[in-house]
């Protein structure tokens, strides 16, 4: 499952990133590193993006990016 399957208030840990090159680097720079705890915090009114807490900061991700982050099911 991916971050998209995480309900608000739920948390899990990052398993792997379905991204390469600069995109992968970007996600890792934002803190999405395998093993990190991630919690879905809130959804914007239109459902996209969703705010996640990761490594002590709140980061908003678009669905397209959230779907590339696999989490512990």
């Amino acid at each position: 499952m991916t971050l998209l399957d995480l309900s608000l208030g739920e948390s899990s840990s990052v398993l792997k990133l379905d991204a390469e090159g600069a995109d992968r680097r970007r996600l890792m720079d934002l803190g999405f590193i395998p093993g990190s705890r991630v919690e879905a915090l809130r959804r914007s009114p239109l459902g996209d993006p969703v705010a996640y807490r990761i490594r002590g900061a709140v980061i908003a991700l678009r669905r397209a990016d959230a779907g590339r982050i696999h989490i512990d099911g």
């Binding site: 090159g21 600069a22 680097r25 970007r26 720079d29 934002l30 803190g31 490594r55 002590g56 900061a57």
Partner: protein, 284 residues
Amino acid sequence: MQGAFTSTVDVTVKKSIGIQSLAMMDAQCSSCALNPLTDSGQLAREGSADATVVLAGNPNVGKTSVFNALTGLRQHTGNWPGKTVLQARGFYPHRDKRIEVVDLPGTYSLSARSPEEEVARDAICFGNPDVTVVVVDATALERNLNLVLQIAEVSDRIVVCVNLLDEARRKHVWVDLKELALELGLPVVGTVALARRGILELKDAIDQIVTGQMSPSPKKPVYSEDVEAAIVGIVPSIQEINHTSLPDRWIALRILEGDDSILGKLEQFYRRDDATMTEQAMAS
């Protein structure tokens, strides 16, 4: 005493902005008067400054509070993204020197993905500042150290400023500053910028690097064997043509990474003899 510099800085900033709002300005505009870099890539230095210090850090770590505490200016702080799109400049006198401080937009990494991040990246990598102060959030160190390590690959002249120590304390987080300094190989100063705590120590640490009393040698990240082997493979060709102050290893990593934005900047800022630098390096 610091107030003497306040008005001059304020006036120049407002004048060049005119009636346009800060948010409207295009941070990428290379010819605009507020861009931190001159055409040659150097930080546009005020003639009267003895040294230029840039403030780097993740968004929301209190860089602007540190800036205000250092300079006595009241640059606007607030909690929304992109508020420091254009870097603010100020000065402070310390130990008979006039130090210029540039407050950069927040960035998570040197692989810039937005105009704001690009302003920060360019100033850190191509601006050749005398000292880079990396402001980190004491409550989220592990996240913040990513940027510290990235900057340590570009420059040795770094001071790590662990800010928000009071907030960390409230969250029962205690940061071992001495151990962190040993671990990183960099001077580390703890601050509560809003309360102006630790600011004198920060100025002293900056001064020690400016005067050469201290030359940090940060521990650099080591990559996987195949990446390290690839670096060794292309560094000699880079060495031959690298006339910049940037480390060969850092340029090698950017080439391996295929970061076109940085390679483009290298050609922009070091156009003269080095126009073919990256091409040659890539071909090798």
